[in-house]
Amino acid sequence: MIAFLGKRVLVAVGVTLFITFLTFLLLFVSGDPATALAGASSRAEDVEKIRVLYGLDRPILVQYAEWLWNAVRGDLGQSLFFQLPVVDLLAGRLPVTLTVGVLAMGLALALGVPLGIVAAVWRGGAIDRFALVLAVVGQAMPTFWFGLILIVVFGMMVPVLPISGADDWRGYILPVVVLGYYAAPAIMRLVRSGMIDALQSDYIRTARANGLLGPTVLLNHALRNAIVPLVSLTAVQFGFLLSGSIVVESVFALNGLGRLGWESIIRSDLPTVQAIILVLSGIFILLTTCADILTAWIDPRARMQ
């Protein structure tokens, strides 16, 4: 188990390094950062000045190595755009993104799991078909479009909810609904198919034959087996939610990490983009690793492998 864990951590660190190096390269490929930082209407001498000021005239590998060395020592540098420590920027923005992400995940689970169970138990019934429609619509609808629809309905036609910013908790309602609904279908479909498999299996028949009651069989025996893959899926979906927050934060003008990342890419703000990638990929890798361990805990078979 320890050898397994050690290997997993090594892979995780390697993946993180690879991702940060790739973003570093991509930022240089997408255009000259010095020109982007200087802004529109800048003259050649302004651009040159910025290039030297930020050390962008040195080889990319040297710049990456310097960034990495500082990052390892906990120094993520200064945002080239804000002239503020990147750590301070992230500290202000990460809570917003995490709040939206966690609430949206909660909503997705609260919607997906019960619907999945009901759809599996009454397979082919009205609820199953309704759930299918809900899933198809949720997967097919782009988040920004759904966001705009909600804005028209709850911001303009029946103006009861704030549509931009998060001055109080009400500002989170629409973004969470949009993101949560986006994540729910995959969870629902997985629970449904897992439950269908479980309900048809021999041990359920045996349990029923032994006289156990319906709900007990359903929750203690069937669901426990059906949710094993759900744990990994939830971790992966949470990663998608973090990336989906780029769109949702921009639409609803939330001051989160996704929006900061997007704006920073456009501004070629290298240290900020690098730090965000590091934090987000770190969260993602941490979650998937935790999911593996959790799976092993729920499902004894996984421990054997």
Binding site: T35, A44, A253
Partner: protein
Amino acid sequence: MKRNRVLSLCAGMALAIAAGGAHAGKEDDTLRVAFSGEAATLDNYKIAGREGLIIARHLFDNLLYKDLETNTIVPALAKSYRFVDDLTMEFELRQGVKFHNGERFDADDVVYTLNMVVREDYGTRYRIVVDWIKSVEKINQHTVQIHMAKPYALALEMLAGPLPIYPNDYFESVGANKFGVAPIGTGPYKLTDVTPGTRWVLEAFDDHYNSSPKGRPAIGTIDIRVLPEPNIQYAELLTGKLDWIWRVPPDQAGKLERRPKISVLSAPIMRIGYIHFNVNAGTEDFPTRKKKVRQAILHAIDRQGIADAFVGGASKVVHTACNPAQFGCTQDVVKYDYDPDKARALLAEAGYPDGFETELVVVAPRPQAESVAADLAKVGIKVRLNEQQYAAAADRWRAGKSVMIFSNWGSYGIGDMALITSNFFGGGADDLVQDAQLSQWLNTGDTATDASVRKENYAKALKTIAENAYWMSMWNFNVNYATNSELNFTPHPDEFARWFKSSWK
């Protein structure tokens, strides 16, 4: 009992939801505005975007102020000024002026600020703003002299625009980075709340000095937010949660105009669109090397038609390599009217009877670029549109790798052609023609202090550019503003919103 509690909790939540969204504007004397782009710092010398600069002009004052109503430069923090000699200006400073933190304004602030931002290592974003200043000297507590590094026709314009004065004691104690987040000035508004990059709350500064050309602010609070999604801006404006938005596209402006309680204003600005031809840079044999080809392109594009369809407002065709609203920008040059037949004839004379294929680098809205391509196709020039970000396009242009570039230039909002024509034809990196005579005329125009000398040299340069068809100006830009109809707001061609001059009706 338990059920009742749940019910009342639900009712309470519903009420809380329904009660939300205080209506903006006159009632609570708060002007709520939205920008699409973020602003990094409020250190005026390091700001790149217009958003930050607008906020900065509410917080800081300059030695001089440009009154666009009368188009004159008037005293501000300086009570008066005079030229001691060609390269020395003396300013008598106003007394009794206070900064937002109570610090007194005097010669030390002026000397400290200007000497600091001139330094290479300070990181002033646009060198052109400060590179004409050699040093600033304190004569006494209320008198300073500016020693110029070179004669510069725009010296007063710069002092009235991008050269605000900072409080030396406060700046020294907090440092440049903190100052960018928590700035202190003498301006009509002070910053009371800030989320770096995305939100600023300004409050009227009661001790803003008397006889300030910016006047006494009529609106108590200005709440500025960044809303990147335009649809949100329209929705917030329509439901009364915003009072002011800008850069509204023409089609949306038309729709907003028809709604009650919304005013839409359109104002021409300094920015113009242009197509720049690669005349002789690089190694490849581009068709634009030939004057007749360039002239043909000028005749081939229906500029007014495209402007009417896609630029909107009162956009007009521009014939000079500068905005007609700018100083020195004479319109007495060769003009190329829309005439596809003439374009075809010129192409045939240039050796391209069947036209040719080439590339157009585009840093402009897609519909405009496609219209340009369609017009060129009608005379036989097939262009591939290559859309690029400004940064990448500028790089390629400066390396001489582009045939033609379709972009636009805002002249930093300043009404003087020194800030556009000289950038593209004055011998710098963007100048691919590198015509020594042309650069010399422009250089004389940029440095002479005598207005008639400037005009004369500029006119020669503009005529040469037009005759040789080095450049095709497209149209002047307009900015559409949509506001709460209870707001008095006057837009200006320099794209600086002056909320300190705004009031409620």
